[in-house]
């Protein structure tokens, strides 16, 4: 598993639950180290053990934990870079949803060895969408649910998300856009990144 993904989990846990919680989980999972390097590749088995240890420690389901991770990735100042990259997807929430089909390719443009599962957006009506998350990264649809929710806030859109079950081998997230301009979203300047 790519170090960036492991590092995302590390950053989320340390910020939200504190370093002792993280240190305990790395110990339980038998990692033999506490810091993931974002640019190295790790055995996928490590991440599975780590997630098991964390969910047991925090008494949370895997899906809930990963959804919170997705929300953290978009909304926390630590990961502002990532939010900005996602905002390049479009000027409105609907644009952003449509840009998700390209997300794995966009990610590969930035980090060539980071592979994300295929995503496919289906527009059922102008307010109802389904996001198909294809296999490749267990729990990815849970993370994406958190990302979609937080990006809704970011664009100022009022969005309802639900587990849409399965379609073939893909996990489905059902998205209902209640109002696209519900609140003032966060600002996004193309050239706004200072320093």
């Amino acid at each position: 598993m790519h170090g960036l993904i492991n590092r995302a989990i590390q950053s989320f846990v340390c910020t939200t639950y504190g370093r002792p919680c993280w240190a305990r989980a790395t110990e339980t999972a038998g990692l033999g180290f506490v810091e993931f390097e974002p640019m190295l590749i790790y055995d996928a088995e490590l991440s599975v053990r780590l997630l098991d240890a964390l969910c047991t420690d925090l008494k949370r389901s895997r899906a809930d934990f990963l959804e919170d991770l997705g929300t953290y990735l978009v909304s926390h100042p630590n990961t502002e870079d990532l939010r900005r990259l996602l905002r390049f997807g479009g000027v409105s929430y609907v644009d952003f949803l449509h840009s998700l089909d390209d997300l794995p390719d966009r990610v590969r443009l930035a980090v060539s060895d980071l592979e994300l599962p295929m995503l496919e957006l289906r527009e059922e009506t102008p307010t109802e969408y389904k996001l198909l998350c294809f296999p490749g990264l267990p729990g990815f649809s849970s993370v994406m649910t958190g990302v979609l929710r937080a990006m809704g806030d970011d664009y100022g859109a009022l969005v309802m998300l639900a587990d849409g079950g399965h379609k073939g081998e893909a996990e489905v997230i059902a998205i209902t856009l209640v109002e696209s301009a519900f609140a003032e979203g966060r600002q996004f300047d193309l050239g706004g990144k200072t320093s």
Partner: protein, 338 residues
Amino acid sequence: MTTTDQMADLLETLCPMFVLIDATGRIRRVGPTLQKLRPDQPMVGDDFLQLFELVRPRMVSTMPALMATAGGRLQLRFRDEPRTGLKGLIAPLPDDAGAVVNLSFGISILDAVRDYALTSADFSGTDLAIELLYLVEAKSAAMEASRSLNLRLQGAMLAAEEQAYTDTLTGLKNRRAMDHILGHLIRSKSKFALMHLDLDFFKSVNDQLGHAAGDYVLQQAARIMLEETRHDDTVARIGGDEFVFVFKDLVDPKTLCGIAERIIARLQEPMTFEGKTCEVSASIGTALSTQFDNKDWAEVLNAADQALYEAKKNGRACHVFYGNLTATPAKSDVQPLA
């Protein structure tokens, strides 16, 4: 509505940074994004070459010269501040009715989006500008992550090297470090002195009071050796109770004798470990790099070894110079080198 106006309407959608100029070089229509770069200064009616300066090809200052560049790449910039650079392409209209110039930011896009607060809506749907901006940010973030990894790896490498050169019990350098330093001194043709020190009676401390006491004695001895040498000197523990000192640029026998005698005297002071008294002493043999042709430090070390052997033979607690191989008992007068 004339056909030229219809064409200009089309261009507003397709090329939001176009300029339509008439045969005299006067601007008739301008794309919305280009106009956004000078919001308080309507461009229509201005002279194209008054507004923009051609950077390449140079020497283009008249309309006919401009028209002659048709089809080739142009590099331009605004004549007033901010002097944003632009890329351009000129296509003449039929019947000498003027031309269309299509402009784009090229590499200046990064500054332009900041200077003019441009948004996605300012770029044509087929323009790769947004992808370029995305890529720049994404690559910068990835590069930053790689850079910090490199820094951490470098730190880890230095720490590992330091560890590899350190004797963990005493914190002194180890044999590997000594080899390294001596090799460096020989290559740089530096003068140096080597002292080989062996603790006397150390085995009996170990045997009678145990290894913990032995370790304590070694640590105290190391501390004394560091205190009695300069910061730039090297003190290495190369065996159980064997130590080597490397004195760079110090080959004066009198000074070296002084150091050796002070070290022996201090090592002879009784140490107390868990209420028990440990007593050791030391024998030292010294050799100078200047006594050899300076090609091989092993020769110098071997000489120091011989001197040490001589010191041990002469009843311990004394210091012997290679070359005069007669014992100089500690606390007696220094014998100058013959």
